[in-house]
């Protein structure tokens, strides 16, 4: 466990020192502030569009950060040959994968805290109140959701050598699931066979990332999700991330390193 935590710590340090997170945060903040500067018929109390823009940028930034950082981990270590020095220590391949995953995921969590703090400030500046339960649910569900793209990108880095192709494929898959995942079964109904069966199979196989998107609830101030369903969603994400990481370990454990 110590090895896993040490590896995770190294990943977080690298991400903080690479400044990826800062660039994305500055971009998000800048675009949100530009949107906030728009004159909406001299009404300063309009806030939901701002929340939507902010949350959408946070979602996009979070996905990009998760996928690009995870996709880079193993190829970068292999290229820099730090992988060999590390695995020459009493570190198993499973610990290595777990440490990389944990580091990327925790780093995403830290980034989300900063992003959502900014979002909270934006919302508070106009609404004068913040539903803390919904806000906490949004952060936690977003964070757990990101475990899946991180695991996917890590597994993908063992299949595709180039981080750019891995990142692109993983991002396309994640964005596709986010935007269209919940509608696939409806589309399948209108397709002829074997397309309908294939699409239905895809629908039931993919991790439904859109489940974790509760932006509408936050933006329009709906009551929080019932806590039992919130917990179910977190477990769903954990299960998928676990399955994907296990697959990544199976790919990695027998792979010769050079």
């Amino acid at each position: 466990m110590r090895a896993v935590l040490t590896l995770a710590h190294l990943v977080i340090l690298e991400m903080v020192r690479r400044k990826d997170i800062y660039v994305l945060f500055v971009l998000t903040a800048l675009l949100t502030l530009i949107a906030a500067a728009a004159n909406i018929f001299d009404d300063t109390r309009v806030v939901r569009y701002l929340k939507e823009i902010s949350l959408t940028l946070i979602w996009v930034s979070g996905l990009v950060l998760a996928v690009t950082s995870a996709a880079r981990q193993i190829p970068a270590e292999r290229e820099a040959r730090t992988l060999f020095t590390m695995l020459a220590k009493p570190v198993s391949r499973w610990q290595f994968i777990a440490g990389k995953f944990l580091g990327c995921w925790l780093a995403c969590g830290l980034a989300l805290l900063v992003f959502y703090a900014f979002f909270g400030a934006v919302a508070l500046s106009r609404e004068r109140s913040l539903d803390l339960a919904s806000w906490a649910q949004a952060i936690s569900m977003h964070w757990f959701m990101l475990a899946v793209p991180v695991a996917l990108a890590l597994a993908g880095s063992l299949l595709w050598a180039a981080p750019s192709s891995n990142s692109t494929l993983t991002l396309v898959a994640c964005f596709g699931i986010w935007l269209l995942g919940r509608h696939l079964h409806k589309v399948a109904l209108g397709l002829p066979e074997p397309g309908a069966t294939l699409l239905t199979l895809v629908y039931f196989t993919i991790p439904h990332l859109e489940l974790f998107d509760i932006r509408d609830l936050i933006i329009h101030r709906w009551p929080p999700v019932p806590w039992v369903f919130w917990l179910g969603a977190l477990l769903y994400a954990a299960a998928y991330a676990g399955m994907i990481l296990t697959g990544a370990w199976l790919l990695f454990r027998r792979r010769p390193l050079n």
């Binding site: 101030r221 709906w222 369903f229």
Partner: protein, 307 residues
């Protein structure tokens, strides 16, 4: 030394730019057709974005409980915010509370827990509608409808020729948020982009009548709207009878208020021709005739909306 060179270079560039700019603006080879950045960037795709933002405003009107393109949209063919504003004739059918239908599988059922699940309107409180006590918020109590304005504004910026954006926005601005001046200014922007729009003229007339308390101005605007309608709509295969109905009804009611009976009857005739319930309008005509003094009790000529 390098800093001096940079400063000299900068000043020279600035001087060149300021001296060349007037020439460039007058240059016939100048291909910039629009000063609108969005129009330049997006081209014709801006209309698609404008429509998307218009629908987005309706989604906001429903606090996020809105059908996607994959769901049953029969009850949302006309955006509710536009129909409620009288900007568009409502063509909605079916059940607006249940466009999703029953859950198809456990993922669908589970996923609905994380989305808005109740049909509400922002002007009636939106997500804060107190469903447990069944208290209905009176129209006008909730000003949360302001939240649809940014999307309407963006939609208008992208497609200034989309008239219903201006009329919808103006209605909510003046009727719910109390920003009559802003509504009027916005309608004038729309009129500049659409000088022959009877809808915008009609809406300006409503502001004049209901908010400025200037019936003379309102009548001028509505008569101009009617003239525009007659000039442009009659040429179409399917003229916009809903708009005629609105213009005629308001002119008729105004004339009735001002006891201009002949005009009132004339406009009631137009109203009856456009109304889906002509019997109701006929009753009204009868009532008005009863109000007319005996000297003017002649039967009115048959209404003919054509010029």
């Amino acid at each position: 030394m390098p800093h001096t060179a940079i400063v000299i270079l900068f000043l020279t560039s600035l001087a060149l730019v300021t001296s060349l700019e007037p020439w460039f603006q007058s240059w016939q080879g100048n291909r910039a057709q629009s000063a609108d950045l969005l129009a330049v960037l997006l081209g014709d795709a801006r209309r698609a974005f404008a429509n998307h933002f218009f629908i987005k405003a309706d989604a906001y009107f429903h606090s996020g409980y809105y059908p996607s393109i994959f769901d049953n949209r029969a009850a949302f063919q006309t955006p509710h915010m536009a129909a409620d504003a009288g900007a568009l004739e409502e063509k909605n059918t079916g059940e607006e509370d249940d466009f999703l239908g029953p859950p198809r599988d456990w993922i669908d059922a589970f996923g609905r827990k994380f989305k808005p699940a109740t049909h509400t309107h922002l002007d009636q409180g939106g997500a804060q509608t107190d469903a447990s006590s069944h208290k209905e918020i009176e129209l006008g109590e909730s000003q949360d409808v302001r939240e649809i304005l940014p999307w309407l504004r963006a939609s208008a910026a992208l497609d200034p020729q989309k008239v219903e954006i201006y009329t919808t926005t103006a209605y909510w601005l003046r009727q719910r948020i109390g920003k009559t001046t802003e509504a009027e200014a916005f309608l004038r922007d729309g009129l500049r982009a659409n000088p022959d729009s009877h809808e915008i003229l009609f809406e300006l007339g409503r502001i004049a009548d209901e908010h400025r308390k200037d019936p003379a101005r309102a009548r001028n605007l509505w008569e101009l709207a009617l003239a525009k309608w007659q000039k442009f709509e009659l040429q179409k295969k399917d003229p916009d009878t809903f708009s005629l109905l609105q213009i005629a009804s308001h002119l008729a009611l105004l004339a009735e208020r001002e006891s201009r009976w002949d005009e009132c009857l004339h406009f009631l005739g137009l109203w009856k021709a456009a109304s889906p319930k002509p019997d109701e309008i006929e009753k009204r005509i009868t009532e008005v005739r009863q109000k007319i003094p005996a000297a003017n009790h002649a039967k009115p000529p048959a209404p003919n909306p054509k010029p």
